[in-house]
Amino acid sequence: MHSASVFIELGAIILVLGLLGRIAGRYGLSPIPLYLLGGLAFGHGGLLPLAASEEFVATGAEIGVVLLLLMLGLEYTAADLVTNLKAQYPAGAVDFALNALPGAGMALLLGWGPVAAVVLAGVTWISSSGVIAKVLGDLGRLGNRETPVILSILVLEDLSMALYLPILTALLAGAGLLAGSITLAVALVTAGAVLFVALRYGRLISRFVSHDDPEKLLLVVLGLTLLVAGIAQQLQVSAAVGAFLVGIALSGEAAEGAHSLLSPLRDLFAAVFFVFFGLNTTPSSIPPVLLPALALAVVTVFTKIGTGYWAARRAGIGSGGRWRAGGALVARGEFSIVIAGLAVTAGIEPDLGPLATAYVLLLVIIGPLTARWTQPAAEWFARRRAGTGPAPGGPAAAPLTGSAPGAQSADGLELPAPSSASAAN
């Protein structure tokens, strides 16, 4: 009765996840940290070690990564990616320099070698689009003028993943310089070709996939995605990137339909993925790496705030909006775990998984807080320095009329016609 024990274990895991998710929802938290903690509890050396279902969970986790990236690709159209790339590449470069390098530096400091440095660079570099979009919505800031800036940085990061993941996969596979370069060239050509095809013939692809019957659409999209992901993995380009490119290539009706159909599947398998990552981490290995994780978290909170500030200033946004953009970008989440997960599976550095876990746990909790409080804090410091006035109340229920004279920077734009420094123009 092997299947019985598998069912019991899987049922227990998924039920616990559901309950954890409800707890997270009640306090408006992202469920990701709780899923990770759940995985830790079930894992090796945890409270309830599992055995029978491990194989299924491992496969489920891989499907989870593929679905996460597919849904990310569905969020964007090829046109979105190209316009953002054209308009915002300096912000993307600053983002990379400020946030990837601390991670790489920390890995080298700990003496983990170059491959681990590339992994940790990715972990600290990529913000969590999911967490950030939700936080902006909750704070009622989606209409703010700095929001397009925040979103384009997220788009650029996600697009960078299409290059970063193949490099990482090649490095983890222990490929030499030549093999690595070939992989990178394949990835570049493939990504370029997919973007080109999606821009040119996106409608044709979508028409081929699109179907009125949800069942057929689900099967076609899922089949296509897994097939492409598998081929990409064969070519050493990483399954996740293949799935991402499928998502980009689908647009319009097919994308909308697939989005609503696959959301529940994505939620299930992504949760399984976070649990699997936790399962592979021994809880007792976390305390030793807590200090580096904390240091890395503090440094990369400030570097992300700096990134957002710089990008918003470049887009001609006033000082309040610059701090808001910086604070909003802090949260890291699912992709840091995806990147660390690849490294853990390849087994390069035993402490890497625990460090990434601790880091993401910290930042997924800190991120929403910085999104909310960076601007008030910055203004409070500015006022302290100017030696005036009391500490501000929260900006939650700001009156419609000017409440804080002098709080607005001199270069805050006057009302009519805010420049759309964002996409499209």
């Binding site: 009622g140 800031r141 989606l142 209409g143 700095e146 979103l151 788009v155």
Partner: protein, 161 residues
């Protein structure tokens, strides 16, 4: 009845934002979320980048609000949006426009933006398919068809003073 120029900004992963500034210099925006819901945003006076109020409306609530706002005969700047990604827009030419009295060919519109000017509306009547030697005048309304980016670029060119 002057129609404000509504700007469109794509918010990748969220939806599309439409915004304009009212005659009273109040800025307001609507976000069309991908799930069909809408957010109506008003901006703070002391920080024009930030929303003072953000009202999230379901599809049904948005429809009710539209009905309440719609005058008996509504004329909108947007003529027609197809899901093929082409839009047609009315773009008014102001009296102080740089193009007042210049030829349509001088705008080099189709070369620069890919958008086409398919008609010019004047008080005296409409001119369909104006040729490049058509002379523009302040107060004209141009019907421009193209991609969203193209029409936005066309509006920027035609807005030159």
């Amino acid at each position: 009845m002057p129609i404000p120029r509504v700007r469109t900004t794509s918010l990748p992963g969220v939806g599309v934002q439409y915004d304009f500034t009212t005659r009273e210099q109040r800025h307001l925006s609507v976000i069309a979320h991908r799930d069909g819901s809408r957010s109506l945003n008003l901006y703070r006076a002391d920080d024009p980048d930030a929303c003072a109020h953000s009202l999230h409306l379901s599809e049904g609530e948005s429809a009710a609000l539209v009905d309440a706002l719609r005058p008996a005969q509504h004329s909108t700047a947007l003529l027609h949006t197809t899901d093929l990604g082409l839009i047609a827009e009315r773009i008014p030419l102001s009296g102080v426009s740089y193009w007042n009295g210049r030829l349509l060919g001088e705008t080099r519109m189709r070369t620069a933006t890919g958008a086409s000017i398919v008609a010019v509306l004047r008080r005296t009547g409409a001119v369909p398919s104006p040729t490049p030697d058509f002379r523009l005048a302040g107060g004209d309304t141009l019907i421009v068809i193209g991609t969203r980016e193209g029409v936005d670029a066309a509006a920027a060119i035609l807005g030159r003073e």
